[in-house]
């Protein structure tokens, strides 16, 4: 056994020394679950934003042109609709391969086949509810596949309650009020989400307001950033106006 890799007593005493707080730009966990309501687009939006954030870190090493597999089961399509190409971020727009699975076991098969494929940048899955087939064993299979082949998986769980799972990071995401745009303060602005990391292997739990601050993902503490006083976005314009 390699003694140097074992944690030291000081690290065990203070968890933060070994497990830093999560922030955007850290290399993403390979298997994240995102719990969201099917009444809003926050789950898919946060999954795409986290996936883009993860791909940005790998950008130097890996080509950007790899495809993205988006798997949905029939119930998820019925509740939340399909991805719409004109609304996707510019960088992923032409790379989506969509799989419409009939039921949960087909969707799990598609997810696992996707994780084994070296030509995919990442796999995004959407499962509705708590299907019986998706138990701890199934999630453990996904973990093993993603860790063997290194393809990240972002699994959106619509209207599900968190059961036992082998996911490395588990998020609970709801929509958050967006920062008003400068030129039309009555219009909805860039997307924002209230994200709660409630279970993670490498990071302590926490809450953030995630903001898709194209091209990067911004995270703020919800206590500091109350929605009413949020600065308008569209960064450079705001700074120029001194708002």
């Amino acid at each position: 056994m390699d003694m140097a890799r074992l944690p030291r007593a000081a690290e065990l005493a203070r968890g933060s020394a070994r497990n830093p707080r999560w922030r955007p730009g850290l290399s993403a966990a390979l298997y994240s679950e995102i719990f969201a309501s099917s009444r809003e687009g926050s789950g898919a939006g946060a999954a795409v934003a986290l996936a883009c954030d993860g791909m940005r870190q790998e950008r130097k090493a890996v080509a950007e042109e790899k495809a993205i597999l988006w798997v949905q089961d029939a119930d998820a399509i019925r509740r939340g609709g399909r991805p719409y190409r004109p609304g996707l971020p510019q960088s992923v727009r032409d790379r989506i391969v969509h799989v419409a699975a009939r039921n949960c076991s087909d969707a799990l098969f598609a997810l696992e086949e996707g994780l084994r494929c070296r030509d995919l940048a990442c796999v995004i899955g959407e499962l509705a509810g708590n299907p019986k087939q998706f138990d701890f064993t199934a999630s453990r299979r996904l973990t093993l596949a993603t860790e063997k082949h290194g393809v990240p998986l972002f699994l959106i769980r619509l209207d599900a309650h968190p059961e036992l799972s082998a996911a490395r990071m588990r998020w609970r995401v709801t929509s958050a009020p967006s920062a008003p745009p400068l030129w039309n303060r009555n219009a909805p602005g860039r997307a924002a989400w209230h994200a709660e990391l409630f279970r993670a292997r490498a990071h302590p739990p926490g809450e953030w307001i995630l903001r898709d601050d194209d091209p990067v993902l911004a995270a703020e503490s919800p206590a500091v950033q109350s929605p009413a006083s949020a600065a308008p976005d569209h960064g450079d314009l705001v700074r120029a106006a001194g708002a």
Binding site: G41, A46, V48, Y84, P86, C117, P177, P188
Partner: protein, 520 residues
């Protein structure tokens, strides 16, 4: 040599009804028809119908007044063309290569071939005899140029032969100008100019004085007509042989095919798997020799009682990997009923694409380094179905649900004008827009509150309306326009909703509201 099947469509119809000319159903007045913008027209009347007065191009209603007993049936131009392609291969028995002369003829190169059949006269009688045995009415001619052979076959008498030492201009002088294969409007111009015979056109430049300028005048008249079919002078030169006329030869393509006849009929799955393994290996060798890969494979199983079970497989990219083929077929063979046994198995690659030699141990590599995208798509579409694995593409339409279409994942994207980025679109679009109940201050104003799937949302911020008009060239006249609003409710949920129509547009009652998309 030109072969003109004068009644190709009718001959095929007679063949399908198994009757000789003038017998059975062909004894009654009958015509094949085509649908045109102005109603059905006669494409090919038979002899009895022609006697009664029906002619080609006549409206069916007019023909019925002349001949009330006229029977009709729709023509099959696509089938005729497919027949003609097979016919063009068949006529290569008389020459090394042949070319299609759509819609109802073929051209065969018989240079230095006639002596094999005992002279040109006997060659033509051989053609006539064999075509007659197939039930085809043909007119044939042999001439030094394709144009001359075509002219003689269509407008000459009998089986005309034009030798290379005959005076071509003189032999062809009596034929009408239609023998030049010209377009209808050019024929009309020539008729108005009084040029009716080929001799008129050929002799026009040979006179003295004024007559010498005739050819220049015609050249000026047709100076902008570049295509041979629109320029009588080019056609005339091709007919005489002064200008070359390239023809596109027909080349038969044989699909790779391997089969196994089994000594003992197979009734068990494991034996069948072994046979499919062997066939896949044979097929891979066959494909490797051609330097191609299979895109579509057909496996046919002949049972002892004569039934044939077909299993078809379509692949996302050309492949030449035996274990991949076997693996894909394995899941397709689960529901095969072997009956009393299978005695022959045949594998055919109906669609091949070029594939150069490459590393072949794709399965071993898959264990180590993961599968390729094509293999992944194949596995998914075999289990989930062809329509389950798709890629979204853009379509030129303003209506949101039509602006996105789906295609197979590895097909190239269609070329399209770049999408306009004036307006933000939602991240996800519902398959069907869902109806909502909306509270608003005024019918044309911003929405204030809506109820969707049983819950009430207070609208905090609104952007809109973005007006999208219906596509009048496609939809009914009563289709209503849509006013789209991008909204955010009090807790930050963002939606894309629209109002269908205006209160006073006169196309129905009060407009309904729908939610169509979920924004990120």
């Amino acid at each position: 040599m030109a072969i003109w099947c004068a009644q190709l469509a009718l001959d095929r119809w007679r063949h399908s009804h198994n009757c000789k000319p003038g017998e059975g159903p062909d004894a009654q007045p009958f015509a094949l028809i085509t649908e045109t913008a102005h109603g059905p027209r006669i494409a090919a009347p038979n002899a009895a119908a022609q006697l009664e007065g029906a002619s080609c191009g006549m409206m069916v209603a007019d023909a019925r007044t002349l001949c009330p007993a006229l029977q009709t049936s729709p023509g099959d131009p696509a089938g005729d063309l497919a027949f003609l392609e097979r016919f063009a291969i068949w006529v290569q028995r008389w020459g090394p290569w042949s070319a299609l002369d759509a819609p109802d003829g073929v051209l065969v190169d018989v240079s230095a071939v006639a002596h094999l059949f005992g002279g040109e006269r006997r060659l033509l009688s051989d053609v006539a005899g064999r075509c007659h045995a197939r039930g085809l009415t043909v007119h044939t001619a042999i001439a030094p140029t394709a144009g001359a052979a075509w002219a003689l076959a269509h407008y000459g008498q009998g089986a005309a032969i034009l030798g290379s030492d005959d005076d071509m201009a003189m032999r062809l002088a009596d034929l009408p100008v239609a023998a030049l294969r010209l377009d209808d409007d050019v024929l009309l111009v020539l008729r108005r100019l009084g040029l009716k015979r080929l001799g008129d056109l050929a002799g026009i430049g040979q006179g003295e004085g004024e007559g010498r300028n005739g050819r220049d005048a015609i050249k000026r008249r047709f100076r902008n007509h570049r295509s041979p079919g629109a320029n009588p002078l080019v056609r005339m030169d091709q007919l005489i042989g002064l200008v070359p006329e390239p023809l596109l030869p027909v080349v038969p393509v044989h699909a790779p095919l391997v089969q196994r006849r089994l000594l003992e009929p197979v009734r068990h799955r494991s034996l069948l798997d072994t046979v499919v393994d062997d066939l896949a290996a044979d097929m891979v060798r066959e494909l490797e020799a051609r330097g191609s890969g299979a895109r579509r494979l057909e496996l046919a199983l002949w049972r002892v009682d004569g039934e044939v079970v077909m299993r078809q497989l379509e692949l996302a990219a050309a492949t030449r990997d035996a274990s991949h083929i076997t693996r894909l077929f394995t899941s397709r063979l689960d529901d095969v009923d072997a009956g009393f046994g299978i005695e022959m198995v045949r594998l055919r690659a109906a669609w091949c694409e070029e594939l150069t030699l490459a590393q072949s141990d794709i399965e071993a590599a898959a264990q180590e380094h993961g599968t390729s995208l094509a293999a992944c798509v194949d596995r998914l579409s075999v289990r989930l179905g062809e329509d389950a694995v798709q890629r979204p593409t853009l379509r030129a339409s303003h209506v949101p649900e039509r602006a996105q279409s789906w295609q197979r994942p590895l097909d190239p994207e269609p070329a399209l004008q770049h999408e306009l980025a004036f307006h933000t679109r939602p991240l996800k679009l519902l398959d069907r827009a869902e109806k909502i109940a909306v509270l608003y201050a005024s019918p044309d104003g911003d929405p204030r509150q809506f109820r969707w799937r049983g819950k009430v949302h207070d609208i905090a911020r609104v952007e809109g309306p973005e007006r999208i008009a219906p596509e009048w060239w496609r939809e009914r006249g009563a289709a209503r326009l849509r006013d789209y609003y991008r909204i955010e409710d009090g807790s930050g949920r963002r939606y894309w909703i629209y109002r269908e129509g205006l209160a006073d547009d006169g196309r129905g009652g009060m407009p309904d509201w729908f939610v169509q998309g979920l924004c990120a």
